[in-house]
Amino acid sequence: MVFLDFEKPLESLYEQLDKIKQVAEQGDVDVSATIQEIENKIKAKKKEIYTNLTGWQRVQLSRHPERPYTLYYISQICKKFIELHGDRNIGDDKAIVGGLAKINGDTLMIIGHQKGINTKMRQYRNFGMANPEGYRKALRLMKMAEKFGFPIVCFIDTPGAYPGIEAEERGQAEAIARNLFEMVKLRVPVICYIIGEGASGGALGIGVGDRVFMLENSWYSVISPENCSTILWRTWDYKEQAAEALKLTADHMLEFGLIDEIVKEPLGGAHTDPETMAKALKKHIKKELTALIEMTPEERISARIEKYSNMGHFTARPPETEIEPTVQEES
């Protein structure tokens, strides 16, 4: 098990538990009462830690090295899955995966960011940072789904779209912009889940849909806390403050009306019980798609336009707040 800094109190409890279990295996001493006691302590401690997480702690959980990723959920949720590769132009991006899936006899298109599960794979997956061909592959698959009437499910988990020379050369910005534009008009239901990190345009590039959900310990923001800290405070050290200031947790996003619902995670995070998490996701997907299929494509599209058009906070300036501009003032 990997323990994050704020989980350290749990680590010693788990160590005690392991030791006592070893004792139990060796001798005839009855330690069941002690085991019970420690397990209760763990339970209480967990509750204490995880019910009051800060923004930065959620960010840490969303990046937990054992956190389940898109392909894990697909393997648990779908009876059958065939991965489809390539954007038919440049190549196959490894940071976004997608393909045809069967859930309860229905065909779906599932698309998602994919991170690697070990050092080698993390590099292979480019840490979940897609290049333009990743977004274009996603769009190709969505268009195919639309053609055949398959609903689309997107899993979002990225620290951002890749900032590299080739990415710029091949139009990272255009690829993301095109997806935003095209996803609005898709005639099939589209539901999106932020399953880990939802950083900026790289997340939104496969994140426009009829419904957008966040797992409890995921985050969604215009910028990662580290980069925000670098720009505004000119050092990485203020990432905790930046995480708070950005109000990036699922609770905040729901409160702002920018997402539709939070999907609960097992206590301690999705990685502590990935199977339960996957089951909950499957149930959720089924419920949401059943509701969306009832609507006509036109109803869904106009609801999507309405929903995104209403996002934003501004006000009309009353005339008396007019401040005379002092142009000469030093900036």
Partner: protein
């Protein structure tokens, strides 16, 4: 060996460039350092009279260049609210007020409606001087409302982008403006109303990755910086120097993301031509 040692590196400004001149009389090119009178500079479409460098100008300068005389400014009463109570070194409210005092503007975009060669055109132009031309809720809303005007009046839309990207101080709300503006542009596309996207120096981040790249015609001014990630971020990520001319308008044209590059002196003429083609 000299008696004095230069302790600070990089102080190499020649004395002749150090002269202080009062504002409003002279202009010194930020690129070649050539000095000209402000009048000459303005008459030359805010380009350097020697090297032709296009200086960054504001939304109202563009309106003056484009429209036949007068134009109406729209939605200029919209202002941002510090909904998130965002505070870094200063609060977001203070930043807005400071930006307003500096620029006289209320946000990073202004919208105008008027006639270009007697034909109607709605123009939304960004101001880099207002918090780096960053896109927050007001930018998104003004673009959305511009689209509504275009739909109602069947007028083409011109957006002049000049932005560092999304406005961090509005966090997810600023991110969602990418979706919002793109969503509104689908309505314009469905109504078959042309949208011209002019990218000026600089156009980066969330603005490039949403409405700026979605024009029926994407065009730019010479040498403008256009990209998704900023050059510094890319350099830090790949730990290599960037190629010459990387992310310049010419580079984007070469890689297929712009229809053409237009000198500012020909902007109006080209718009008239385009509006004529699209009817």
């Amino acid at each position: 060996m000299g008696w004095f040692k230069r302790l600070k590196e990089g102080i190499q400004t020649a004395t002749k460039f150090k002269k202080e001149t009062p504002d409003g009389l002279w202009h010194q090119c930020t690129k070649c350092k050539e000095t000209s009178t402000y009048k000459e500079f303005k008459e030359n479409y805010f380009k350097c009279i020697k090297c032709g460098h296009h200086e960054r100008i504001g939304s109202h300068d563009y309106f003056d260049l484009i429209y036949d005389g007068k134009y109406d400014e729209l939605f200029d009463d919209l202002i941002s609210t510090d909904f998130l109570k965002f505070t870094d070194l200063t609060s977001y409210d203070e930043r807005i007020e400071k930006a307003h005092r500096k620029t006289g503007l209320w946000d990073a975009i202004s919208v105008a409606s008027g006639k270009v060669n007697k034909k109607p055109l709605v123009t939304a132009a960004m101001d880099f001087s207002f918090i780096g031309g960053s896109m927050g809720s007001v930018v998104g809303e003004k673009i959305a409302r511009s689209v509504d005007v275009c739909l109602r009046e069947r007028s083409p839309l011109l957006i002049i982008s000049k932005s560092g990207g999304a406005r961090m101080m509005e966090s997810a709300f600023s991110l969602m403006q990418m979706a919002k503006t793109s969503v509104k542009l689908t309505q314009l596309a469905d109504a078959k109303i042309p949208y011209f996207s002019l990218m000026t120096d600089p156009t980066t981040g969330g603005v490039t990755a949403s409405f700026a790249m979605l024009g029926d015609i994407n065009f730019s001014e010479p040498n403008a910086l256009i990209g998704f990630a900023g050059p510094r971020v890319i350099k830090e990520t790949i730990k290599k120097d960037l190629p010459e001319g990387f992310q310049s308008a010419e580079y984007l044209l070469e890689h297929g993301f712009l229809d053409f590059i237009i000198d500012r002196s020909q902007l109006k003429e080209r718009l008239v031509e385009l509006m004529d083609f699209f009817g």
